[in-house]
Homo-oligomer: 384 residues x 2
């Protein structure tokens, strides 16, 4: 186990009916909130009305800012920053999925600085402060509700960059009501499942450690729980317990704990995926099931013991064949409805040069060593 | 899953050599620290010197207060409070195991109030503020380094009372260096193992839920890791990874996460144990292995599916016999060296009346329903 520092101060308010408490928590941080959301889904499923009613009850002044895209873009975040500055809001309230939460974080950081926020993403400057961030999560997947990370796409350069573990970006409070996720389609839920699994498994697959009982136990336990819950949701999309376990598993999957102390862990599936969703604007989770399968196929000899342990302890597949384990994972992805090849995401003729060039930068920035341009190209070709 | 609120702000600094950072962290909270510790063990293993050197480097004035007992007692905590008030310390620095940490928390709460701190334990008053608490953990077991709980024994009344989840009692920072635990005896480590396992398993055994994928995954994963690490420590007591996984598993075992959302979870093994260690002054962990086995034997019919799942997923015992699972747990406890009967803890003639009367109060205070005095007596008799 390698040394680590961990601190996660986010307050989680979890369960049925908790949105009625939003106003009371918001009022601890100010009187004027920038309400950030996407399009119409939170109006269609009633979340918007519940949040507004609670804010009204606590006399919170609300400045609305909507239109956040699935892969949130820099120019839109900058519009939000202008609005936050214009109205001098006290805090940012994000209502939506990981994209909304991430853009809200960018706005919260940008609202109290004068420089271009893209400098944060290119690591020219560090985020040291931000307006208080409060979130109401409606699409469990990215873990942004309980972590200090955010990802934004610069649509002018097709760069999808992010950061993690920034203290100022941990939400003060996050509300998680599993009933708000009933309206998610099975496809959205499947993409979320792929995202959560990748968060849990990248360190697990890439570690240099032969044994790491605590992290393995944590990761295997949560990953199995999320997969089981996904199958239960397919059987009944309004099964409260299935939605609740899926939602809480998503938060535990990327709130920092799973990665603590893992020697040599890195994020190759993410570094291969960001260029795909940045260029083709597909769902991040859909991209991750494609890149995870390709990465495993390409690295199966180097990490055979880990793949076999994954098969045994998570998939329940007793075998000495890494191919069989990877086939089993691919079958799970296919069963729940997330793609494992480019074509499944509607990408017929991928631009390999662009993908390789972009991902090469990410592998370098994220210190993922041991991959040449040829390796990256070979992995992208496996995705055909 | 039932509704919950969770917030755990403690900063964890984990790994080799981290004690050199104690002074720098302490200095964020003040210039004068009350240093609370036990007897000589932290001087014998070098921890005291390392902590003092780091404090000196940051020019922290240190008021020493030692002599904390294994089951910390009220009168000693009150001496600490007097000292903290006399010297107007800015914070309390605890160096030791769970007992030292708990007494330090009582001192931190008592140092800024005028009333009798026993009122906190009898629930006459609530702890709403305390001096900042910083800890250096040397005996992983109780989870006190990352939770808002504390337990103190009133030696005049033989009452061992506690509380949990109090925001003011979460340490600001806790330092966990696995190398500081090399000097623990295998017996101390075995008692710790029993304590950690009980923390994880009480909710698991007592829940009303038939399935709870996330909590089961978390609990099974961490419990297996701690048990595996215990066996590795028996093989080699200075195996860094074994000590590190054991230490971090202990923290994850009782930092609140494992119990979140569990319907109907309660703490009967603890409520049976507190009277034992309060009256006979045995190690808490030694008492817990005794009460856990007895409780399981007494309740095996009501919770058969949970016991069989425990056997299958944690002990690796495939059977349909609850007796075989309980035998297997008892064999594990015996193998590592923690008792499963009174006699193993040196208690030859237990005072059943006293035990039953004391535990009856705890069952009531902790809202553990469905047990008569006869039930309590029957369970204590199983421990013979």
């Amino acid at each position: 186990m390698v040394n680590f520092v961990f601190q996660n101060p986010t307050k989680i308010v979890f369960g049925k009916g908790v949105l009625s408490q939003v106003g009371a928590e918001v009022s601890k941080y100010g009187k004027k909130a920038l309400l950030v959301y996407g399009k119409n889904s939170i109006k269609a499923n009633g979340v918007y009305d519940k949040v507004i009613a609670s804010l009204n009850k606590s006399n919170i002044e609300v400045i609305e800012f909507n239109g956040v895209k699935g892969n949130p873009i820099l120019s839109h975040a900058k519009e939000g920053i202008d609005l936050a500055k214009k109205y001098k809001v006290d805090l940012v309230l994000a209502v939506g999925g990981g994209s909304v939460l991430d853009e809200a974080k960018a706005i919260a950081a940008g609202a109290i600085c004068e420089s271009d926020i893209w400098d944060f993403f290119t690591a020219k400057k560090a985020v040291t402060e931000a307006l208080p961030i409060i979130t109401v999560l409606t699409l469990p997947a990215t873990g942004s509700e309980m972590n200090g990370g955010m990802v934004i796409t610069n649509e002018l350069t097709c760069e999808k960059f992010g950061m993690g573990g920034v203290q100022a970006l941990y939400p003060k409070v996050s509300f998680l009501d599993p009933e708000t996720t009933y309206s998610l389609s099975l496809t959205q839920t499947a993409y979320a499942c792929s995202d959560i699994m990748t968060h849990l498994l990248e360190g697990y697959f890439t570690t240099k450690a032969k044994t790491m009982p605590v992290q393995d136990g944590y990761i295997e336990g949560i990953a199995k729980a999320v997969m089981t819950s996904m199958l239960n949701i397919i059987d009944n999309s309004t099964d409260y317990n299935a939605r609740a376990h899926f939602m809480w598993g998503a938060t535990l999957g990327w709130n920092g704990i799973g990665a603590l102390g893992i020697p040599g862990g890195s994020l190759p599936s993410h570094a291969l995926e960001h260029p795909i969703s940045a260029i083709y604007d597909i769902a991040h989770g859909a991209g991750l099931s494609i890149t995870t399968v390709a990465w495993l196929k390409y690295r199966k000899e180097q990490i055979a013991p880990r793949i076999l342990q994954f098969g045994r302890n998570i998939l329940g597949v007793e075998t000495e064949s890494t191919d069989k384990v990877i086939d089993s994972l691919e079958a799970f992805y296919t069963k729940i409805g997330t793609p494992t090849r480019f074509i499944g995401a509607g990408i017929e003729v991928p631009d390999f040069d662009l993908l390789v060039n972009h991902s090469e930068r990410l592998f370098k920035a994220w210190r993922i060593y041991g991959y040449t341009k040829e390796d990256l190209l070979a992995m992208y070709k496996i995705m055909l």
